[in-house]
Symmetry: C2
Amino acid sequence: MATKQQRLPREVRERQMIDAAVRVFSRSGYHTASVEEIAEAAGISKPMVYIYLGSKERLFTACIHREADRVVEAVRAAVHADEPPELGLWSGLRVFFRFVADNRDSWAVLYQHARTQGEPFAQEVSEARRRVIEEITRMVVAGTRLGGGERIVTERDAEILARIAIGAADSLSDWLLEHPEESPDGLIDRVTNLALVGVDRYTTGDIQPS
Amino acid sequence: MATKQQRLPREVRERQMIDAAVRVFSRSGYHTASVEEIAEAAGISKPMVYIYLGSKERLFTACIHREADRVVEAVRAAVHADEPPELGLWSGLRVFFRFVADNRDSWAVLYQHARTQGEPFAQEVSEARRRVIEEITRMVVAGTRLGGGERIVTERDAEILARIAIGAADSLSDWLLEHPEESPDGLIDRVTNLALVGVDRYTTGDIQPS
């Protein structure tokens, strides 16, 4: 066993540890989870875990970072560069809600819980959010540039749209986790329906924004 | 001075302490602020502060609660029961951004900072958010009920709209504080403009949500 462990490259070993840590933290929460439990779940000795990732705190931070990468990757893969940014926003939102629903336990611990647990976890979550905001801003800027380089949405407004999207996604993902009887696609249908009611009321002259 | 202090009713004394505490926490942050500083700013002895509010932690919690009441009150006052809920949402959003901009320092400490600082502060912030969500849900439900009691938006969809509104408001208020060169009304103009671009693109058939 010891010999076999030594043959694995560092990144493979780290990935095993983080996979195990995500499972253990999701099941037990940050405070209850122990490095021993994680080492056991990873099939690695406890001293080895300390050598690789230093401490329970650093393990948890690595989990937040890795799961944030996964969600960014999933959203990015769902959005195609050649579609209008509004469609991209819907596709991104749909994939995001599916991710949250499929990773219910890890999301509750690594995002919802971590963002309220003080430093360094809140900082790590906040940086992950920033990466997503930048990604959406780039997408909106790229998707709303017309032929001659002219823009229908300024870069600053694209940033605003990204903030609205992430704020809404965030808040709706909390709602989704509080309502296990609802599905990600059902939530998207509800949001679509509200958007259409809104468009309808604007265009029939019932209301004017101001 | 001691005699004069004793004549004040408890709620007046508490209000003085909380006013002073909001100023001191906003200026110094939670960790640096001391109960001595707060007592001095309130013109009250330090033992008296402990008698009334128990600890720095309880003082801070009382500040979060009081400022949350203020923001809920300001938003409620801006929204009229007889206007369509979309107009109510815009009015509420405008007043909310003004509140944040006018109370920049206290907002940064009592909301942005508090929500990431673990219990009991994150809990207090989360309850304040819940009160606002309930308020918006009630407003949307009341405003979209037609003559015969029929609804164009279900109660559950009203809740979704409230979550979108609070998530977006939250995320945009962070943006506003990061951009001191922007004004609350300017931000509302940007959001309005984005909504109109969106409505325009939907109604001209450029895009379809799905």
